[in-house]
């Protein structure tokens, strides 16, 4: 009785989400402490105490009908103005509330952007490995996802490959910096090169190619890395931001889309984002949390915890013979599997209660993703399992039959 599209979706649902649910199932059998769930980016770092304080303060001082009521679909003007000012202070821009549309997380932000810009058959470039949900967001509005592989090993953008993929139908390129699933960061020279390429190609084709910069991990960076702010490099950029990771609020669905006044047709874009928020059915980003984040713009989670996790797990895996680009941001490792079949490898890992996501889920077979936004203690406890798993494969004792993976 369900639609043809959803029939297909039901039979091939998200590998990440399946793993998440598998983790819950295994936890019931073996105990939560014995299941090493590296499958989903559900942040372990606690939300800053300021969140709780802000919520209570709002409940005690603001009018309930304002706090929980409707506002403009794009969000409360005072909240958007506070966010604009915060961006201006950090990045030397001149945004106002009109340049900000509050969204239901980054996922909600991406969908209102694509609904705003895509005509049927428009092409959107993504760099693989990539977050698999991009396909859903782009195809929902008739767009076609064009996958351009990054450079092997470093996972940095392959400028020549991107250039070759741009056609007159190219409407946007998605840049996810820091990157999910690889954790690599694109530096300023890379961003400049992409911006130059898009400018040149837009002129060549007399088209407008948007940069859609998906930045939920902007604040999760290590070793004093700075993420370039796209609005300073390319006028037709959308910044899609979420507080899911920077404030550990992924369930609350709160984020925003920012763009500059230099964007072509900026007023129409602003209106369209707001309308899209309503017509897609979000109506608006959740109201209380709009007000909460306006009070917590200078708060952040303790990223040092993630750095500790990264170092522990990265060093151990490399010592075992795994190969992996050392991540500079986000909280993922993208590791080469010890056999070409990444799905088989993930199934083998599950034998030791290690839950990982095959690289194929990110358009990059032969690898697997680890989300290390879990506790340090859990990672410590998992190290033996990783050692045993690696030994199984590196001693060539492994056969597919032994693991019953098919």
């Amino acid at each position: 009785m369900i639609s043809e599209k959803m029939k297909a979706a039901v039979s091939g649902s998200s590998v990440i989400r399946q793993m998440f649910e598998e983790g819950a199932r295994l936890s019931k059998i073996y105990g939560e402490e014995n299941v090493f769930d590296f499958s989903i980016g559900n942040p372990n770092a606690e939300p800053p105490e300021s969140i709780k304080i802000a919520i209570k303060e709002i409940l005690d001082t603001e009018k309930p009908n304002l706090v929980h009521g409707y506002m403009n679909n794009a969000g409360y003007e005072d909240v958007r103005e506070a966010i604009a000012k915060n961006i201006n202070d950090s990045h030397g821009l001149d945004l106002t509330f009109k340049n900000i549309c509050m969204s239901v997380g980054a996922a909600g932000g991406l969908t209102i952007v694509f609904k705003t810009i895509l005509n049927p058959d428009d092409e959107v470039i993504t760099l693989s490995p990539f977050f698999g949900e991009y396909r859903n967001y782009v195809e929902a509005y008739g767009g076609k996802l064009v996958i351009v592989p990054t450079l092997t090993g470093t996972f940095q953008p392959d400028l020549a490959a991107i250039e070759a993929a741009i056609t007159p139908k190219t409407k946007a390129i998605i840049i996810n910096n820091p990157n999910n699933p690889t954790g690599v960061v694109y530096r300023e020279e890379t961003i400049k090169a992409i911006a130059d390429l898009l400018t040149r190609k837009s002129e060549q084709f007399r088209s407008c190619i948007f940069m859609v910069s998906d930045e939920p991990y902007r604040e999760i960076v290590y070793d004093d890395i700075k993420i370039p702010y796209m609005l300073n490099y390319y006028k037709n950029s959308f910044i899609v931001y979420s507080y899911s990771k920077s404030l550990s609020l992924p369930g609350e669905r709160i984020g925003y889309v920012a763009f500059s006044n230099q964007m072509e047709d900026a007023d129409d874009v602003a209106m369209s984002l707001s309308i899209a928020t309503r017509t897609i059915g979000y109506v608006n980003a959740p109201s209380l949390f709009q007000r909460v984040i306006a009070k917590c713009l200078d708060s952040e989670v303790d990223t040092y915890l993630y750095k500790m996790n990264r170092d522990l797990l990265y060093n151990h895996l490399v010592s075992l013979g795994f190969s992996c680009a050392k991540p500079e941001g986000a909280f993922y490792l993208f590791v080469k599997a010890l056999i070409p079949d990444d799905v088989a490898f993930a199934a083998a890992a599950k034998k030791y209660n290690l839950l990982i996501v095959p690289g194929s889920a990110f358009g990059c077979p032969g690898y697997f993703r680890l989300a290390y936004c879990t506790s340090y203690e859990k990672i410590e406890k998992s190290l033996n399992a990783w050692t045993t798993l690696a030994k199984d494969f590196l001693n060539e004792a492994w056969t597919s039959k032994e693991f019953n993976i098919y």
Copy 2:
């Protein structure tokens, strides 16, 4: 630079939302107390105190990473189980958490339902006057909205007209009870008649026609009216519910979809609703408010306030010569305009700072909608403006030129 579809949307954006923003503009000029904004269903009744208490209790006793974190896309199992039990207790059903999918309000609930059931060119019947956003939700998934007028004056379903509109392509009928914009209620005999008709037509066409029951106003009823629970009358029903009105939380975007195990392919439907929640880009209903409403299932706003408002405004308008079906639920009056051109009439009303929505926005020209979910004092203060407006028209002093409405 924006898409063709959004260009059209930007130029013909929601009349209701435009009025809402016009209200804010006029308030800045004339003072909020002198603008009579009857345009939007932003509830005036305060959320029950239990909401604030529940939020604080959750913040003080539950783990922050659980409260604000990811959960299954369909929502927390314990929250869904609590809702299922609450429904069972009230309506003698045997639902479990599997029959409940948490949604981003009723709007989010309608979109996941339509994404689940619609193939391109499927037809969805709505009874006019109808909430204009239905068109967006249906057309987003390739469906075609088929508008069937209700009976003149009573706004009750016209069974013969519905029967004539059902074709082999009919996939669903939307029932909105209590109704927006008319405030009328469909009684048990009407629901039974519609259910019988759908059963008969499904058999005739060997099709499955879903009932999509949009019930955000279920609890907002007067004079001891009871709204029939659709799952008890028709197995292929979706209940789309929201806490926006019953707990005055419209900005928080929290609701759910419920369906029974007797629905055809119930397991696939459950999985599809959950996947649709993710792929549309909501990911999940906001997490804190899922947990909040589970603690407030027996709370409700004071509907007596709305009844007082209804009586005051309804009686005054009728005394002035307006004609209107007396609403038994929701917080809207749907009134016959004093001239055939409802858009001109709304423009004339604005001269007295009366903000109303023309009936054409609901597919029913010649009428206008008043949302009386405002304060009693505001309604009292508006009565003179209504009197003056009515006199202008009833004395035939009115000309379109005088009001500068074109």
